[in-house]
């Protein structure tokens, strides 16, 4: 009822939102404020049924903190983008365009839903930094479970302030323009470049940049005026009398802290030091929610590099084929370990291991050992047996054998392939290859 601003309805603070904001602040290395409160920001707009937005203007819930950009994000040096404040506020209603021609429909279901606004300091200097900042913010918030941060769903949105300055003068001497409603990383980058170019051209021509709010036309790659400073409203901020201030104790902050997962920076360091994984594998795993914990629950007693390789190539390959997230996958830690151990101890071949993985991810509930029994798989590891098979293949393909002996080395692959076929994939390719070579050499010397 608050969504539709029914007369007599009162707002109620959802404690879960305070909890998520607290996580976000800790994740950004900021300080949770012991006292914060809510204010009304007044303006009339069709997506704002109350006539004001409940926000935190005077006493936000979080202050300070930073996000670090460095080599991991493709920069030469490491820099910090500082956070000014983190505040809780109400979302507006969603405007739906194009459903009813000539009308904008208003979806009030989003009105009054809480959102976390993070305001950065003016530390970002390039479009690339801005893009990486947002990307890193997404990763961080996903990692600590604050939001799925999907830009296409609007679960992360950003407004960007752009200003340029003359070389040699103060970095903040320019006049800023705010770009609103940028809805993808690519759009953010392009809009900033377009706006910076526009402002540079104005300054080069001897003009003055005017403070205003602008939108971005992605088709034409230019920004356009949406509201000038003159028409910017006085928001008439007023403490909201309906919501008491939030008081937070040190004990509560400690509890939130203790429930927070390890932050990506720390995880990254640890995965490198503890397991000796490559940067590529670490990045891949960190960016998939739940992956690091999956890795760590499978790695004990196994070769960490091989486990990581199997996860990042085979498991991820299947995930992307299925357009699935690891968190939604049906593969269990036990199944993965069973499969991996069977492979390591030579009970199955890697082709069979891959097939098991597919079955598990299709929803097979049985364990790896049960499945190996069901398939009747056993690796032919007896050299004599393989030699029998290979001899038969060589006998039935004398042309290839002769060709190899004349120096056509690629004939080898053909023979190995035929032999693998004959073993129904139950022999290890390296064994087959070794024996084929052995027998060919023996032929040669005869």
């Amino acid at each position: 009822m608050v969504d539709a601003s029914i007369p007599g309805s009162l707002p109620r603070l959802n404690p879960q939102c305070v909890d998520l904001a607290a996580r976000a602040i800790l994740g950004l290395n900021g300080q949770i404020q012991h006292m914060s409160s809510f204010d009304r920001k007044h303006y009339f707009y069709y997506d704002q049924p109350l006539g004001y937005q409940i926000t935190q203007h005077f006493y936000p819930i979080g202050r300070g903190g930073f996000i670090e950009l460095g080599p991991d994000e493709g920069f030469d040096r490491t820099k910090r983008v500082h956070i000014h404040q983190v505040q809780l506020e109400q979302d507006t209603a969603k405007s739906v365009h194009g459903v009813s021609p000539g009308h904008v429909l208003i979806d009030l279901n989003r009105a009054g839903v809480a959102l976390i606004e993070v305001v950065s300091e003016p530390d970002i200097e390039t479009a690339e930094e801005a893009t990486q900042f947002v990307r890193k913010m997404q990763m961080l918030m996903r990692h600590i479970g604050v939001s799925n941060c999907n830009m296409e769903d609007g679960s992360i949105r950003c407004d960007v302030n752009v200003s340029v300055y003359h070389r040699g003068s103060d970095r903040l001497s320019g006049t800023r323009c705010e770009l609103k409603n940028l809805n993808s990383l690519k759009v953010i980058r392009n809009a900033i470049d377009a706006e910076a170019t526009r402002q540079k051209n104005i300054l080069i021509a001897g003009g003055v940049v005017v403070q205003e709010t602008r939108g971005f036309n992605a088709q034409q790659g230019v920004t356009y005026l949406s509201r000038s400073k003159e028409s910017a409203p006085d928001y008439r901020y007023m403490p909201d009398p309906d919501i008491p201030e939030i008081r937070i104790s040190d004990g509560w902050i400690k509890r939130v802290q203790s429930m927070l997962p390890e932050l990506p920076e720390a995880t990254r360091l640890r995965l490198g030091e503890q397991y000796g994984l490559s940067q590529v594998d670490i990045e891949t795993m960190i960016n998939e929610s739940g992956c690091v914990s999956f890795f760590e629950s499978t790695v004990s007693g196994r070769d960490p590099k091989r486990v990581a390789a199997w996860i990042t190539s085979e498991v991820f390959g299947q995930l992307s084929y299925r357009a699935q997230r690891l968190a939604d996958s049906l593969l269990t830690v036990e199944q993965f370990c069973g499969m991996f151990d069977a492979l390591s101890s030579g009970l199955i071949t890697s082709a069979q291991a891959k097939q098991l993985l597919i079955e598990f991810m299709d929803g097979e509930k049985r364990s790896a050992s049960e499945m190996i029994k069901v398939h009747g798989w056993k690796v032919i590891s007896d050299d004599a047996q393989i030699r029998d098979i290979v001899s038969k293949i060589m006998d039935s393909h004398p042309k290839e054998v002769a060709g190899y002996l004349k120096g056509q080395k690629r004939r080898l692959n053909f023979l190995v392939g035929k032999a693998m076929e004959a073993t129904k994939g139950q022999a290890r390719p390296q064994d087959v290859s070794r024996i084929v070579k052995e027998l060919l050499e023996a032929n040669n010397t005869q």
Partner: protein, 490 residues
Amino acid sequence: MAALQLNLRGLSKHRAMLLRRRSYHHPCADTLNALVGAPAAPARPTPGELSGWTIGLKSNIASTLLRTTCGSQALQTYTSPGDSTAWRLLQQAGAVLAGATNMDEFGMGSHTRDSMHGRTANPWDAERSAGGSSGGGAAAVARGLCRVAVGSDTGGSVRLPAAWCGVVGFKPSYGRVSRAGLVAYGSSLDTVGLLARTTADVRQAFAVLAHPDARDMTCMTAHTRHRISHLCHTTRQDRPNPTGALPLAHVRVGVPAECWVHELSDACTAAWRQACHVLQALGCSVERVSLGHLQSALPAYYTVALAEAASNMARFDGVRYGEPSGMGVRAGRAALLGAEVQRRVLLGTYVMGVEARRRFLGPAQRIRRLVQRDMDGVFALPNAMRPGGGPGGRGVDVLLMPTAVGAAPLVSEETAEEGRCRAAGYVTDVMTVPANLAGIPAVSVPFGSDRGLPLGMQLMAQYGDDHLLLDVAEHLEAAWAARAPRLNTT
């Protein structure tokens, strides 16, 4: 008139009144224009603490049975999708709805004159003001159209009409009764209040309403209520026990010197003196106290209330409520809202602006804190929200002062006076607003008379001390009841 003779006094008459009501169509008619809407079908009384009690619900308190018009054209066809917490609790206790009571538009007025339903007449003299903004409720109770009226009190809107219509009007501590479903005027000042013939009825209805409510974050939690009652007990545990002859021997009464304003009528001054004597005779100690910032309370009140009002009224932008004007927000609101509401919204909008905030709203909020500190400085009971700093054992328990500076004025004179000076209309609230600024409970009981018109005497107590306040009010009311003039109901 013949119809009205049915409802003189007593409970059985309420039943008769309800039967009579059936013959009228919505909006129902009474000669006072106190009730402005009746439920489609009268409810059968159900068992409960208030079984069969008839309730008048102010038009800004939501129920699904009545239109919640707030006395405004903007909401003239509006029925709430849900019940207010207050009405839900009363209904659960077995009460039945008599109808919606008239009010000044959105509670902005002191005479129940500025309403889309027209003016409510004072039952003692139709030419006089019923007080406001809960004037419909006060008149309905005085006439016996309902046993209890639920009103709202932002700056005296329950107590002033109670005083002028000769009934009891109670504004509880802020947060004692949930505001959920009360259409907001000044959210930090608004309280749901009660009007009835007797303090006993008020007390019984209050017991039903005073509960925590998750729908209102400013409503006291069970924990706070418990803490306050413990505080009340420990503060007064060493006081003498009341005896039959001196039932209020444990109570200390303060008389604020600053309330002795020159606008006070002679009859009012006399009644105030007499009330002091009555309380002394009942065993109270009576002493003079000082509330240094009382003089500034009225302008501070209007600044804070109007800023909050402008904010709360922002939702009535002509898009969702009222007939769509197609004229945009500015013209649409001008067409939907009455002159007084527009005036207050404009003033409130002004004081919230960046520049005016520094000059008006900031100082007003500081004065509000000073008024609160004044109150904490005279009461023996510490303020449960701001511990420390009180006078402790030397303090008083209740304050005694008139509810208004005189009896109900003639509406014609009042309107003419406002024509000369707009702010004149706001002076009627001078005695009542301090309680709202401080969030403390206050009650007006009929005491004294002026040329046949009733006067109201007001008691205030520390935040949370509602029960002691009602105890003292009950004795004061009883002392006057025998001598009180009878309302001529024909």
